[in-house]
Amino acid sequence: MAEGIKDRVAIIGMGCTRFGERWDKSPDELMVEAFTEAIEDAGIEKEDIGAAWSGTCYEETNIGKSAIALSVALKLPFIAATRVENWCATGSEALRGACYAVAAGAYDICLALGVEKLKDTGYGGLPQNEVQWGTVRRLIDSNQTAPGLFAMLATRYFSRYDIAPDEGKRMLAMISAKSHRNGALNPKAHLRREVTVEQIINAPIIAWPLGLFDCCGVSDGAAAAIVTRAEMAKSFRSDPVYVKALQISASSGQEMLYDDDWTHVETTVHAARRAYQEAGIKNPREEISMAEVHDCFSITEAVTMEDLEFSPRGKVKEDIEAGFFELTGGLPVQPDGGLKSFGHPVGASGLRMAYEMYKQLQGKADTRQIKDPKYGLTHNLGGVPSVNVASIIIVGL
């Protein structure tokens, strides 16, 4: 019987670049920046690393295929290096590879590094969708983008729960306003300006009903983690952060082809349930201290709160309005600003989320510090609402 990896792996060092429009920085420079912070934080040398996982999603506009770009940029000394890609869960997937390798006892120390250079496409938003899903899908898929596909969650959510469009837009705006407030406190965030609910509601529509501020930033950036076997962790630092759960769930096709209700994301539900079981969490709303979830769009955060069992089905609006997810609320969500405000260099995002949880657990989150957090949860959603891969990582002291 599999036991999971609870408390078998510790994070002993992390690094994260400032996210944003890094026109002047190459992917190599971003990788070196995140990596240097991580190994200095861990107090190790690169020669101590046994194997590396490189996370990049859009290799065409980034560093190309394989992990060679990583090993060459960092001049890693002929160690094992693997590139992983799982849409927006890519960074979490890289961390998963590194964690499983040390949990298996194959290595003492591993590196996970995610990098994405999204601002070299020549247009706003993520790279054009139609060439990303293979040669058959491009013949049959609608003329779609990520905002539109997630907007369809909002259309259906509003319809199912009988929420008038202006009321729904207001609910979503409160989500983005909160994340901008948190991001404004974060020197590494991409979008550091507070915006009001009214500004958000009145912003230009990107894909009805989502407006500009319902969409996350598209950014350049890199983030890295150094992991080791739990029993070795204290030899590196007194406050290592332990991995409590690490779960991924990929669509079965059932949602898109058979029965998706487009008001929730089924993979998140599966990954979360398994993660809670792995971590021994019975009541996530009470036990999880804080979360960084995949708020690629405001509506994604809304339904994720329900999928993670933070809010009851159809009731997230009440929690949003009560300020439950604010930095000062019962369960702060996106304390670092989230994808919304911190930005979303796809391959780096999962590791950026882990970076915030790590810093919060160590009490190093400055003005954003949450009081005595015990468990931090990160969530990525790669793909589109009905076809995707969801990751959940739970970390704690």
Binding site: R138, L139, I140, S159, A207, W208, Q254
Partner: protein
């Protein structure tokens, strides 16, 4: 009985008033101001998509498995080499062991295709032939053709079964009369002087063809309930009838002020309109025009009473939306280069071996139906998506193009590059099962709501100018009334 067993038509939803065209391009030359409006193919429509729509209207419950031949008449095929008829046959999901042919290079080829179909039935080489005629001809900005040409299609099913009208006779004229022409590589027609076309073309050939037919079968013009013929010049249209001794009530309205000259489809669309108004025993005379004429003598049978309820001409005529902007019209017809941004430049290559393998799925909108649990699914699957089933390799082909559905959720996307933003798409859930996310067309974002009924329409999904590919697929539309 050899005859027409079913008929259908298609007129695109969009219309533009000729006044709008004049006010945009009138400065270019002497006023060509023509009356009324014309039908305009949407940005995602062309001769092939309109032909498919007309064919679907014509099929209207007929068993498509029984079709032996399919012909397309058009002068505006998107391909020089790649048959239009076979694309239509694939879209209609017809049997592969059929004969297909394109009739082209003259706007009279619609009736020529029809006569060939009658010949095939008479000769016993086919039992059922689908004849499609469709055109979307374009004039240069400021030309009279820009105003006169409209877009539309007709489809007729010819067979020896129960006919709604039988073919009693025909008479053809063929003249190398060069009134309009388009040479290899030309995008637009060139033309000779209007007065010559009017006086020596229409005004001579149509009476000559009609007289030829009347003499051949010893008939009088008064024997016909409807006389159907085109004439680009509205005043002359009436004069031709008068000269032949026909009463105005006998002359079929030529759709010029509502649709425009639809080329190969023109006379056949008028014929479909005439059949809609006809009764048992009516004789109909149909004449086409273009490098001569074909004249056909048809007799309406009792079958007309049972003729199924297609959208035909009359319903398509009343279901319309005014395209109030000439600039939009010009961009839809590719007369005006529009900016779709850097994002719009990223057209993925069409792997033709992939398209071949998936032709029924892509062009025919066929998915799978699980033989074990009966669940329809799109796109086609090997393993059943029903989690309670999961059967492997027990799928049969299941066609979605003729299934109705409802809109489960939707959006209007301003980020996606579109010739007509926002890009509207949504999840369609089909009656009987199956669902997918499709583009929506012929609609406005504001008119949509969750749960509304939709139907599927064959459209041009993309044009890959670099590689010379017109990509076709199906979109959802709110049904035409």
């Amino acid at each position: 009985m050899v005859g027409i067993t079913s008929c259908g038509a298609y007129i695109p939803l969009l219309r533009i008033s000729r006044k709008s065209i004049s006010s945009a391009t009138g400065w270019l030359g002497p006023a060509t101001g023509l009356p009324g409006e014309k039908a305009v193919a949407n940005y995602d429509e062309d001769s092939l998509t309109m032909a498919v729509a007309a064919a679907i209207d014509c099929l209207n419950g007929f068993d498509r498995e029984k079709i032996d031949d399919l012909c397309l008449a058009t002068t505006t095929s998107p391909y020089r080499e790649r048959q239009g008829a076979v694309i239509i046959a694939t879209a209609l999901d017809l049997r592969p062991d059929i004969r297909t042919a394109d009739f082209s290079n003259s706007i009279k080829s619609g009736t020529t295709a029809l006569l060939s179909a009658f010949d095939a039935i008479k000769a016993g080489s086919a039992k059922s032939v689908m004849v499609c005629a469709s055109d979307s001809r374009q004039g240069k900005a400021g030309s009279s053709q820009e105003q006169s040409c409209g877009d539309g299609a007709a489809a007729l099913l010819i067979g020896d079964g129960e006919a709604i009208a039988t073919l009693e006779g025909h008479y053809s004229l063929s003249y190398d009369f060069v009134d309009y022409w388009r040479a290899e590589g030309d995008r637009f027609d060139r033309s000779w002087e209007d007065r010559w076309i009017r006086d020596i073309g229409y005004s001579k050939f149509i009476p000559e063809a009609i007289s030829g037919l009347l003499n051949k079968y010893n008939l009088d013009i008064k024997d016909f309930a409807k006389v159907v013929y085109p004439c680009l010049y509205p005043r002359e249209h009436a004069a031709i009838g008068k000269k032949l001794g026909a009463e105005p009530s006998q002359i079929q309205e030529q759709l010029f002020t509502t649709v425009g000259d639809t080329g190969t489809a023109y006379s056949l669309m008028m014929l479909v309109g005439a059949l809609e108004e006809s009764k048992t025993g009516d004789k109909i005379l149909v004449v086409s025009y273009g490098n001569g004429c074909d004249a056909l003598f048809l007799q309406v049978t009792e079958g007309i009473q049972k003729a199924r309820d297609s959208r035909g001409i009359s319903k398509h005529l009343t279901s319309k939306k005014d395209l109030d902007s000439y600039e939009k019209y010009a961009s839809f017809r590719d007369l005006l280069a529009i900016d779709t941004g850097r994002r719009g430049e990223e057209v993925g290559a069409t792997q033709l071996s992939t398209l071949w393998r998936e032709r029924r799925m892509v062009l025919g909108l066929c998915g799978s139906k699980c033989k074990r649990c009966g669940t329809p699914q799109y796109p086609r699957q090997v393993v059943c998506a029903n989690p309670g089933c999961g059967a492997v390799g027990e799928m049969e082909v299941y066609r979605f193009s003729d299934k109705k559905g409802h809109l489960f959720t939707y959006t209007g996307d301003n980020l996606a590059p579109s010739p007509n933003p926002p890009s509207i798409y949504g999840v369609v859930v089909f009656e009987g099962g199956g669902r997918y996310n499709f583009d929506l067309t012929d609609c406005e974002l504001d008119s949509l709501e969750v749960g509304m009924p939709v139907e599927m329409s064959f459209r041009r999904k993309y044009r890959d100018a670099v590689r010379g590919i017109h990509g076709y697929f199906w979109k959802a539309t709110p049904g035409r009334a």
